[in-house]
């Protein structure tokens, strides 16, 4: 691809969330025109309390939903880009260390047994972190953490937490079971400012931190030995990067539930468009991931009648699209 085209593509990837942000404000069963929206925002600023319904639709339903979708897409995609570079494998996502299984277990535990004592978000977050700690603990042998041991330990952790999840589900009451299943299918339909205040700080701070370390990802993707020869403390660097990516992912899924395929797919699409250098892949994954998540959520909101959880849509569309992508891609991805 010519350098100029690459520049334009990069700009579009960076600017994509802005575009979808503007269009998404108009999506929903209650129609609002651009003029009305400008009017509403103006009234909000000068605090004149008219048209309460429209105010509520825009500021308490649509805006939090848009922002939460952006944050979640950004979190899942940026952290996946980090996981893929660290594991030197373009087919790795947030599942690899057991985060999703751990978060699901935490959420199930909270929904089925603890009731309202501990919020689902907190338990899911704790579950995700606990799972990663278990994976890391198992994989660390004599002060070293080989990538392959991490992958194997991740598989074991996934199995342990999934098993736990089955037990909880088996004993859960039917109505709890329904809540649980809906939670597992990740959705933004209940998005609130409170959710954003839970996950937002982690996601924003973590993504900025990953962005600062973006070039280090290139170094780590050369493998431990070569990275050490470059003068990198690989053990510390891995803990810092995987730890941050874990926090970011756990913060996102603990609030919205499990949304598959976005994390795996986005860095992959970005690499196909602008190359492999993580100096660009990481930020472009963050922005494009945010845009794609929002687009998926818009699609779900536009459906008449029943609103599917967005996690179902991303999986149904994502899997075949991903198959198409990897068959089309060249340059070592499928070697």
């Amino acid at each position: 691809m010519a350098r100029e085209t690459k520049g334009i593509v990069l700009f579009l990837l960076y600017a994509s969330p802005l575009f979808f942000c503007i269009t998404s404000v108009f999506v929903g069963p209650y129609s609002l025109t651009p003029a009305e929206i400008v009017d509403l925002i103006g009234k909000r600023i000068i605090c004149s309390g008219q048209s309460v319904t429209e105010q509520a639709i825009l500021f308490d339903i649509r805006l939090p939903r848009i922002i939460l979708a952006l944050l979640t897409g950004c979190a899942l995609s940026a952290s996946s880009a980090c996981f893929q570079a660290t594991f030197r494998n373009p087919l790795v996502s947030e599942y690899i260390l057991g985060i999703s299984a751990g978060a699901a277990f935490g959420a199930s535990l909270s929904i089925a047994t603890l009731g309202d004592e501990l919020p689902v978000q907190l338990m899911a977050f704790a579950g995700g972190i606990a799972a990663v700690l278990l994976t890391y603990g198992m994989a660390r042998i004599r002060g070293e953490t080989q990538t392959l041991s991490l992958v194997l330990a991740g598989i074991i952790t996934n199995a342990i937490f999934t098993g736990g999840n089955y037990i909880i589900r088996y004993f859960a009451e039917p109505e709890q079971l329904h809540v649980l299943i809906v939670w597992l299918m990740g959705s933004f339909s209940a998005a609130s400012w409170k959710d954003i205040s839970y996950s937002g700080p982690f996601i924003i701070a973590g993504t900025v931190f990953l962005y600062l370390l973006r070039w280090r990802l290139n170094l780590l993707s050369m493998g431990d030995e070569e990275a050490k020869a470059f003068g990198i403390n690989t053990e510390k660097m891995k803990i810092v990067l995987l730890g941050t990516a874990t926090l970011v992912t756990a913060a996102a899924i603990s609030v919205v539930g499990i949304i598959g395929w976005i994390g795996l797919m986005v860095p992959h699409i970005v690499r196909l468009l602008i190359g492999s250098d993580n100096r660009r892949v990481l930020p472009a994954s963050a922005t494009f991931g945010a845009a794609l998540m929002l687009m998926a959520d818009d699609a779900v909101r536009m459906a008449k009648g029943v609103e599917l959880p967005v996690g179902v849509l991303t999986t149904i569309i994502g899997a075949p699209f991903f198959a198409y992508l990897i068959r089309k891609s060249r340059g070592g991805v499928w070697e």
């Binding site: 070039w215 280090r216 993707s221």
Partner: protein, 257 residues
């Protein structure tokens, strides 16, 4: 005292069997030193010790008189670069992106390479005559080009000492010659010190200022190629019958069939 001084170096991977036993050696500035030895004799491990990729079990390594165990990792990397035997590709980076990684010892943790780093990489690419590859993908170039790119990446850090593990492995005869020529020019022009392992004693004869023989983790013998690469020595370290023949004033070896 050499640029690198190795004293009583021992190494084992899990405290059971020693891979390196009581190694003493010194590398003089501006020389090409070749490590010869059968597979599993500890050649690669010795390179990894000198590059601080693995930690010696006991003994000391001094870089310009400073004990390496007191140096920071990036300080070591600023002086010593390493060209591994194999590089497993992960992502299709462009050659420039790939070579820039060699600048890591000079780049702060939260920074990215700047204009000066890119200029340095272009210099190295020019000096190796592979500037034209700069925008190609690592996954799409030939084996011989990859080897040159790996060397370029190591050189981008402007090291005083260059360690190479089997730089001629898997290369055809033309590319073997090319790589050896590059190494020779490098040492002559920049007074870089080179320590490398080779499988082929004849290539060592062609290029080495000094040859070191390793077997079972012990240093058996060292000296000029002429002194060291003899029928007896080769038979002793490789357990294999060989024939020799002389050409100009060099002695070459081939296995008896």
């Amino acid at each position: 005292m050499g640029m690198i001084q190795v004293e009583d170096l021992c190494f084992s991977y899990d405290h059971s069997k020693d891979v390196l036993k009581q190694i003493n050696l010194s590398l003089e500035k501006g020389k090409i030193i070749v490590l010869l030895g059968p597979n599993g004799s500890g050649k690669t491990t010795l390179l990894k010790c000198i590059n601080a990729i693995v930690k010696p079990t006991s003994g000391h390594i001094y870089v310009n008189g400073i004990d390496m165990s007191c140096m920071k990792r990036h300080e070591i990397a600023q002086q010593i670069s390493y060209v591994p035997q194999d590089h497993k590709t992960s992502f299709p980076y462009t050659i420039l992106e790939f070579i820039l990684l060699g600048r890591a010892p000079y780049i702060g943790i939260f920074s990215v390479p700047g204009r000066k780093d890119i200029e340095r990489c272009h210099e190295v690419l020019d000096s190796l005559g592979i500037r034209n590859l700069s925008d190609s993908l690592y996954t799409e170039i030939s084996g011989g080009e990859r080897k040159l790119v790996m060397i370029a990446r190591a050189l981008s850090a402007s090291p005083e000492i260059l360690l190479l593990d089997e730089p001629t492995a898997h290369l055809d005869i033309k590319h073997q010659a090319e790589v050896l020529r590059v190494i020779k020019t490098l040492v002559r022009n920049r007074e870089t010190t080179v320590l490398m392992t080779l499988h082929d004693p004849n290539l060592a004869t062609l290029i080495a200022d000094r040859v070191i023989l390793l077997k079972n983790g012990r240093l058996l013998n060292e000296g000029s190629a002429k002194e060291i690469i003899t029928r007896d020595n080769i038979r002793r370290i490789y357990d294999c019958e060989v024939l020799t023949f002389a050409y100009q004033d060099m002695v070459f070896i081939y296995p008896e069939s």
